[in-house]
Symmetry: C2
Subunit: 237 residues, 2 copies
């Protein structure tokens, strides 16, 4: 908690950026434990995160090495039972933190729709569509078909905002589709380092996205505008 608190303090002293930390994934045991740092941070409105992602389903996440025809591991199943998701949604609501509904496959979005239907996640729903490359087989691939497999299963008759990322692969094909279709883009060297583009910096990657968005008349949202679009809590102070 203290590490998170220090980082959040530093961010907020220097900017109005939204703070979007992770939950504990496989490294943390116990459902309450996975979200405890968020609950603790939120007791101080200055440290309360803005958005927290919850993965709305279960999937196999071993990496397959096609050149060696072998999985690097064989036992990695990322388990997120529905009762865990319901608990996370309740805790985030108590904290005043917006859930990002993170999907690896279309059916994750069916479960996200059920969470919204149960009143555990508010409209607009905020979905992160995680495309998987680099041998991660448990999610949709980073292709137009992969994106379509998500969008076809988006909760119907709900106001959804959605953004795309790609683990271990080049996001630009999917990002162009998302920009064209009204989605948002989460790009960064934490997901993939783009050696084929000369290992650009995060700033360079974001600049490319901004450039393309403006070509189709979509201006980039400020943090304050993003708060309004997603219905987030007001900023600290």
């Amino acid at each position: 908690v203290e590490h998170y608190a220090a980082a959040i303090r530093a961010i907020r002293e220097n900017s109005d950026l939204l703070v979007h930390p992770t939950l504990g994934q496989n490294t943390v045991k116990g459902h309450e434990e996975r979200i405890r740092h968020i609950v603790e941070l939120s007791k101080d409105s200055k440290l309360r995160p803005d958005i927290v992602g919850i993965d709305t389903g279960s999937a196999n996440i071993d990496v397959y090495d096609a050149s060696k025809k072998a999985f690097r591991t064989g036992d990695k199943v990322y388990v997120n039972a529905h009762e865990t998701l319901m608990l996370f949604c309740r805790r985030l609501r108590e904290c005043g933190v917006k859930p990002s509904l993170v999907a690896w496959t279309g059916p994750f979005l069916r479960s996200a729709g059920a969470l919204m239907d149960m009143g555990l996640a508010d409209e607009p729903g905020y979905a992160l569509l995680v495309h998987c490359e680099g041998g991660i087989l448990g999610g949709n691939p980073g292709t137009p078909d992969g994106l379509k497999a998500f969008l076809d299963q988006m909760p119907k008759s709900r106001h959804m905002e959605w953004t795309v990322c790609c683990k271990e692969g080049n996001l630009f094909t999917v990002a162009m589709m998302a920009i064209a279709l009204g989605g948002h883009v989460a790009i960064g060297i934490g997901d993939y380092d783009y050696p084929e583009l000369g290992t650009p910096s995060n700033a360079q990657l974001v600049r490319e996205i901004v450039h393309m968005a403006r070509l189709v008349g979509r201006e980039v949202a400020t943090p304050a505008e993003t708060r309004r679009i997603l219905g987030l809590c007001q900023p600290p102070n």
Copy 2:
């Protein structure tokens, strides 16, 4: 094992139908235990099953009741780790039994492709595409988009035969697509009882599929033809 053996003996004394039993799912503990009955049966070529399904991924399988806005259960995650799948493929190969690669989402087929790539499942690959309705949210829905989300992630450059079913929902929309696109159809009242069609018998359901297949010039395969299409072992005796 004795129950399986008695059923298989009775089937084979009266027909040349293919025998396609299940593995132990959530009810059986331990990976070897889930497949032990198949290994035991296969020691006698008269009792060896023809096809056995293995679910090539993990998913949440709780049922959501939309009318009550609640899940009936909250903790049901169907876990099939890659190392389990590799074990099942090896055992089935030792037994001379064809694996049916059962997919609930597109990424299950990415894992199925890796199993084929590793030489653990032979061409033609045989995929069962499980569409999920009736509140089962962990698989693709029983819609044309749901089918497309499977087909787009079918292993590329592999000879695949594929068949469709729908848990707890009307399969006919997807079945028509499958017939048109060159797929196969697995329909039956074990998946859904079709009250909207007057709770027909299995024979009536199958007759409808046969009728549609012939309308587009696709004759129905006999068991012997199916053995050739899927590359199964020769029949007992």
